[in-house]
Symmetry: C2
Subunit: 505 residues, 2 copies
């Protein structure tokens, strides 16, 4: 019998639910609290917290637990004797430990993971042809009902890697193959990663390669329905794993497929999520204009086919016009900013501040494997760098506020939650939210014995010298942290990743 609660104890750092409104002149600040927070084993949600309890003494904690009338048990201890039971997980102060909301990756191609870092000097359209379509096409055989072993290896690995970097929720693109897409859903469900699973739709023979495309618009829709059915069987209410309608992007889809997929999403109550790409690269924008002359803009292509909804995630949005931003805003659609990918493929510098000022919700995406790294923390860094470069490129932009570390972390958590339309469920430590969280340790203060020779229990690259404020520690984490700092990860209260052999967890 599981304990009634898990009690998390130590320092909790998150971003506030609402960022200060644009133009208010207020700076977004970290919310830093010390104390205890408890999560119900029954539903994995946060039941309460107390930021008054001191975190310096075990006696204080013990007295506090007793006042609650709880019995502390070990994880596999089924002692109950009628009382509510609790297990305790601590963020160790001596290791500069803290709890942080899990990261939300709003745009990641699970199937492309094995190609991470392999893109040469290509840009979007030749990258697709040279590297991406050949890999994706190998995830299935239309004549077989089974996903091939390489899909198992790649999907298990991308889940392992993203969990190890603290990603508790991901909006995944799979491939066109139903069995492999279903496998990805099954693996996420089994391993406990919150996920949106998108079967990729692409039927336009003028752009898609012969060896990798849907035979017709009807196939795009029917195959998508097949994966929805599988995902609904796994997780009927979609609380952990949910389908997401995924027209790859405008050039790969016929108008009939776009319309059919829009109708499919709208046929559910609530409507299904939708994800696609928009305005990543200038040549792509020109191509869309050529293919869809009847639409007023790239954004209008999606709007004209019923795909621009309040549950639509648009990846990239590097070259949007003001009119497109206004349309996206009016439809309440969301944007996934993928700075690592945009820099790696030379797509350009996305004007995130402009998007935010326009009131469009923005999250971060790794965009594996246009992006080269499965870590959202790397995306946080790249978002900051891109924002600083934007400011360096033009007088108009230099007057705009650069994205702060705090704002980039907001995009990675609260922003991501808005983008996947779960702002009241995940992204922070509000009462009633799912406990989707990571335990971060920055390591002990650098002392006299600071050689690194022969160490294998490496705490990572963050060096804390002892004088840093929490804000400065967080900046150091953002700029030099990695998966070694992620000691444990929970999704909906379930421990889904653990690093090393830590007694406390």
């Amino acid at each position: 019998m599981p304990p009634t609660y898990t009690l998390f104890y130590g320092t909790f750092i998150q971003l506030p639910r609402y960022a200060p409104p644009p133009g208010s002149g207020q700076k977004l600040a970290l919310s830093i609290n010390h104390g205890a927070l408890w999560v119900s084993s029954a539903d994995g949600r946060i039941k309460g917290f107390d930021w008054e309890i001191g975190i310096d003494s075990d006696d204080e904690l013990k007295a506090w637990v007793e006042r609650k009338g709880w019995t502390v048990v070990a994880e596999n201890d089924s002692t109950a004797d009628g009382k509510e039971t609790v297990i305790i997980v601590k963020a160790r102060k001596d290791r500069n430990g803290f709890f942080f909301p899990g990261f939300i990756d709003t745009h990641i191609h699970a199937s492309q993971y094995p190609n991470s870092g392999i893109f040469g000097s290509s840009t979007l359209l030749d990258w697709l042809e040279t590297y991406t379509f050949p890999l994706e096409s190998s995830y299935g055989d239309k004549d077989s009902d089974a996903a091939p072993p390489k899909a198992h290896a790649a999907y298990n690995r991308v889940i392992s890697r993203t969990l190890s970097h603290g990603t508790t929720c991901a909006a995944y693109y799979a491939t066109i193959h139903v069995p492999a897409t279903n496998l990805l859903a099954t693996l996420c469900h089994k391993r406990g990663q919150r996920a949106f699973i998108g079967r990729v739709c692409m039927d336009n023979p003028a752009f898609c390669p012969d060896y990798y495309k849907d035979a017709s618009p009807e196939e795009s829709v029917a195959a998508t329905e097949a994966t929805i059915a599988h995902i609904r069987t796994l997780d009927p209410d979609g609380s952990l794993v949910a389908p997401i309608i995924t027209p790859r992007f405008a050039p790969t889809c016929s108008p009939a497929a776009l319309t059919g997929l829009g109708k499919l999403a709208a046929s559910y109550d609530p409507p299904l999520h939708i994800q696609t790409h928009i305005s990543e690269n200038k040549n792509e924008v020109a191509l869309v204009k050529e293919i869809f002359p009847q639409s007023a803009s790239y954004a209008h292509v999606y709007d004209d086919h019923g795909l621009l909804t309040a549950r639509t995630i648009l990846a990239h949005a590097v070259h949007l016009t003001p009119e497109e931003r206004a349309l996206i805003r009016s439809r309440e659609s969301k944007i996934s900013h993928c700075p690592a990918s945009n820099s790696a493929l030379g797509s350009g510098l996305c004007l995130v501040r402009t998007l935010l000022d326009d009131g469009i919700p923005v999250g971060l995406g790794t965009d594996i494997s246009g992006g080269y790294h499965p870590s959202i923390l790397e995306s946080v860094r790249q978002a900051c760098l891109v924002s600083r470069l934007v400011a360096s490129q033009s007088a108009e932009q230099s007057g705009r506020e650069k994205l702060s570390v705090e704002e980039a972390l907001y995009l990675a958590t609260r922003g991501g939650a808005q983008v996947v339309d779960m702002a009241d469920q995940i992204g922070g430590f509000d009462e009633g939210m799912f406990w989707d969280a990571q335990l971060i340790e920055l390591g002990e203060v650098v002392g006299d014995n600071n050689h690194l020779d022969g160490r294998s229990d490496d705490a990572g690259n963050v060096d804390i010298f002892g004088w840093e404020s929490w804000e400065e520690k967080i900046a150091k984490w953002v700029w030099s942290g990695d998966d070694r700092n992620v000691k444990a990860v929970w999704v909906g209260g379930r421990l889904v990743h653990k690093r090393g052999s830590e007694e406390a967890i």
Copy 2:
């Protein structure tokens, strides 16, 4: 008694000594060899290599060693009996291991290391005032002959970190303090990192803070001479640790100090190395124009004061004019490209391709702590990203070739060797060069058991699936590798860093 040789065995990857000339249309390719290479214990230099010997069988190696007439010994085994002895170090094939030249960091402020990642949204000039001068000033007390404990902690740590990331040679800036600068030299010498040690000179009261500056031009020169004397005592011929004349940058130095330092460098035979900053940020360029109205350009300021020599390292060079590039070329001065710093401080996108096409030698610098990370591999990544963004920003630049992974690795090794004027000594595996090298392991091929839970012996983030060519493996290393892949580091044949407890090393 040490063995006569160390024999390195396995795969060796490096860049060719000379990159194809600009405009030749030839692509720079990795030089990949399999076999054995031996290094003399007497002088730490490469005595030979044999790329014909197979690396698949220990028997083949044994027979080969016997043909050489050598006796294989364990490291601390002094068996000699008249024969030449050898210890063997293997790059393990099953772990995708290879030897690679050590990285050369051509621009790093050792003293700023504790501030890594702390820069907020500042740009160069306010960053100096807010973050940098206060930290640097704490490394000494002009009334004391001893370096404070914090200098010990920071300098030991920055040496540990850079070694752990494979940096075998660094051009360091210290602070204005002679005792702490001497300490940095002593630590590098003791720990075996090849280093240029620069005592920072800054005497212009109009720009330097009262609490952190040289009292006069004479003090800039005299204090520099004091550190040169110390370094010459440690290492009379400068084969491992050498002084480098370091006027911080034009705005911080009076004309008299600049002239005095130029003369000081020229008074040695061969002339001493010189390092400074140039044209990092537009406001800085404007400031220099204002302070030095008599000089034709920023580059001319240094030239007018005898500081633009064939042994001068100019950091940044983001906003150089064509005339300045021509002047730098004519003086045979070198440039340290610091992309992570330029993006982090929003300094701008350096046109590295233009510099290379102009025939100016370019290396990479981390520029800690304008740069946020001590790893030159991170600088390699950022150099690639910046080059792709340059291409995205203008039609003129989009026609230029982006920096390939191979070219960025060239800058990190051969290019860096040119920049520190040691192109015939380090940066590759040529016969007669110092064995300044790193053993990289990318890890075993991802198999079925690819969960990462509970692992603490983590091989890092590079995932090899088994189908990759060596070029693709190197791309994966560049884009997702880190210090966990650096299993051992040697400088001049001496093992200076080792990761974990590896039996072979």
